[in-house]
Symmetry: C2
Subunit: 430 residues, 2 copies
């Protein structure tokens, strides 16, 4: 596709007007301020009133939980989990997970998300939905273990291994299989150690929940002789491969030293953390230390949307509040966290950047509306003034997945219908 | 218009499916679970995949500041005000204010806002824009006074009075003229007293900034022998007419007693308060005491949008964070604050409710998208999962102002063009 005379957010996250961008197959083949020499056979996309940028990377999600959107609202955390979420999850089926994930991918694509870091189970069904949707996902089968079992005697670990063997690199690399430890408080030392070793051995990424709530953080220290979750997990080797640590709301300065030393990416989930009243991630300090900070939505059960523009705004303003400083976290830092930092965390180094040679993972934003004027600073308008639905096209590996209300890979009416049906089935079985 | 087989949020803020609603002239003439007897001559609106509700009331705004959207981002508060906002405002013209307000009304209407509480100056130009847009607005000419002038020797007061005389009740009551004291820290005791008296005399509403920042709150106490802004203003009689107090972030328990006793409405502006790092309004406690709490966007210079669904979500989650309680502020309380409470604060008792006999001030939300499924709880989905742009129709006094991307009263391209031109003129004169 040839994007003609369009405003872009370039590789340095600078806004440039009147640019020309072309994709060829799965990649971006041209970016320049003049029309490319040869545009023959290319569909011409009129750039008037449009902003072209790298698609968003959602660094922390549990897509099948879309089935539980708004389920159990108004309950306190433990009640919500014990009386609603856990019983519902116990009844999940392959079909429910497939359609729940497909619906999440539709919502993601609609909001300009091209790639997700997902953590859940029924991963084969999740992968099938992602492949059908045509987007990217680093999917991990989350491991929990409360007994002292050997890792490989556990059904979940066997599932994880078989999922890795069958799906890692599937769909031309769109699917990557990561490993996942659910969290310190849901596993034993032996499990952490064994999973860390296996992950290193196969060279996979690690995805883990870390210090989401104060309770979790403090109880870890009580359990492990003062060691924080970061220190404990690091000592057991969990961060010896490329790791995304979700939340990190309660991490301490020494934890940040470790995260930096181990090149751990931190996925901040501002809306979920606010909505569940977990706290605010110290993004400005993490950024100051050069830690790779990314943005996640967490599940829609605790958000309750995948609106990534909304998430960017929350990411920036939560930090301002925390620091009593309206200048904390700039629109550029926010845009980086929403795109290139997320791609790096996934180990997708040819993604997340609008430049020649990178994957054509792109989002087009309609900037013609009243909410996007006047334009003193386009990046500012993107982060603070755009609406999620201003995304008018999403492309992954050069293929259009969503455009002007239409999904090209997903039968959205069927997906919504089937999701509702699967949800009803589960509710009626409770 | 006859809304056929549609989901509604009814007068008790309960969600009811398969309802039938009809408007006749400026009012709602029918609400029922069966089709009305006579629908002849009525346009039929197909309710499939749509939610009908009372339009939103934006309880605190400075619409012309739309001209400064994103201007001076990345500066600290005082620098932002002194180096950017104040010099820009000094150059405002009638045309700039007219188009800035018209653009704000376009954005408002696009997001389902039918009525606004505006505070600024150049009010005649603001009123003209609101009348042209066809929505409602309680406009007030904000009074500041640092000397000890008699109120009526001040040009601003004369402007205020003439604006009241010329525009109060204009456009069939769509325009209401309120009085406005900017704030305690920008006026003298004499001005507060004189303005309070005049406001009571003419029976107008009062609109005032109260305890937005900690600095303002504490300095007031130092200046006035320990009196908080609420206590000080109340003692001077400012709350003796129907009053909207914007922000109230730093009010104390004794202040809340006064707000309750004086029937003062509190307009909470969660995004602006977070973005400017002013703090979080204690909405749960205000609600517990039975105070009428409403929602405002504040100006887009400090927000930077008028996306009211986003504002509702921020309203609810800011309170959860403040109380470390995910159950603080329910979707129903949020919907009330966004509609009926706002109408009450404006003294528009026939607005803000979807029921027979009320004004046909309505918003239609497209709930057919992937982000709005499954539906465990529609009100929950509205507050937490909808996107601002899911608003697909806005009607004021029975007249459609926006529908499916089209504005019926505003030439949006011209408005954007003229706003950009006026902005450039001001910038080039600085």
């Amino acid at each position: 596709m040839y994007f003609k005379d369009i405003t872009i957010i370039d590789k340095d996250l600078e806004v440039r007007e009147h640019m020309h961008v072309m994709t060829d197959g799965e990649k971006i083949s041209y970016v320049g301020d003049e029309a490319p020499a040869d545009t023959e056979g290319q569909e011409v996309y009129d750039g008037k009133g449009r902003l072209l940028m790298a698609g968003f990377v959602n660094s922390h999600a549990h897509s099948p939980m879309t089935l539980m959107r708004g389920y159990g609202e108004g309950l306190a955390l433990q009640e919500w989990l014990n009386d609603r979420i856990f019983p519902f999850e116990a009844k999940l089926s392959s079909d429910a997970v497939y359609y729940g994930t497909l619906l999440a991918m539709a919502e993601s694509i609609r909001y300009g998300i091209v790639s997700t870091n997902d953590m859940y189970y029924f991963c084969d069904d999740m992968a099938k939905a992602v492949i059908d949707a045509g987007c990217k996902n680093n999917i991990s089968r989350s491991i929990t273990n409360f007994a002292d079992d050997d890792l490989w005697t556990m059904a979940s670990a066997k599932e994880m291994k078989s999922f890795y063997d069958n799906f890692n690199g599937a769909a031309g690399g769109k699917i990557k299989v990561d490993m996942s430890l659910h969290a310190e408080y849901t596993t034993t030392e032996k499990t952490v150690r064994e999973l860390a070793e296996y992950t290193k051995e196969i060279g996979a990424n690690m995805h883990v929940h870390v210090s989401e709530t104060k309770k979790e953080h403090e109880e870890c220290k009580e359990r492990h002789g003062g060691k924080t979750p970061v220190k404990y997990l690091s000592d057991l080797g969990l961060f010896d491969t490329r790791t995304t640590a979700a939340h990190c709301v309660w991490v301490e300065p020494e934890d940040m030293d470790i995260l930096k030393e181990k090149n751990v990416s931190v996925a901040s989930n501002p809306i979920s953390n606010l909505k569940l009243a977990s706290g605010v991630c110290n993004v400005p300090e993490l950024l100051r230390r050069g830690i790779n900070v990314t943005i996640g939505t967490d599940s829609v059960s605790s958000n309750n949307s995948l609106n990534f523009i909304e998430e960017m705004k929350a990411f920036a303003i939560a930090s301002k509040m925390m620091y009593s400083d309206p200048t904390a976290v700039s629109p550029k830092q926010t845009a980086a966290a929403a795109t290139v930092n997320g791609a790096k965390a996934q180990g997708r180094n040819d993604c997340g950047v609008l430049d020649k040679g990178y994957r054509a993972d792109l989002a087009v934003i309609d900037v013609s509306g009243p909410n996007m004027h006047p334009v003193h600073d386009m990046l500012n308008n993107l982060v603070y003034s755009a609406s999620g639905s201003d995304v008018c096209m999403t492309m992954c590996d050069g293929k259009v997945l969503y455009r002007d209300g239409e999904f090209t890979t997903i039968d959205i009416e069927k997906t919504i219908f089937e999701t509702e049906q699967e949800t009803k089935k589960i509710l009626s079985s409770l």
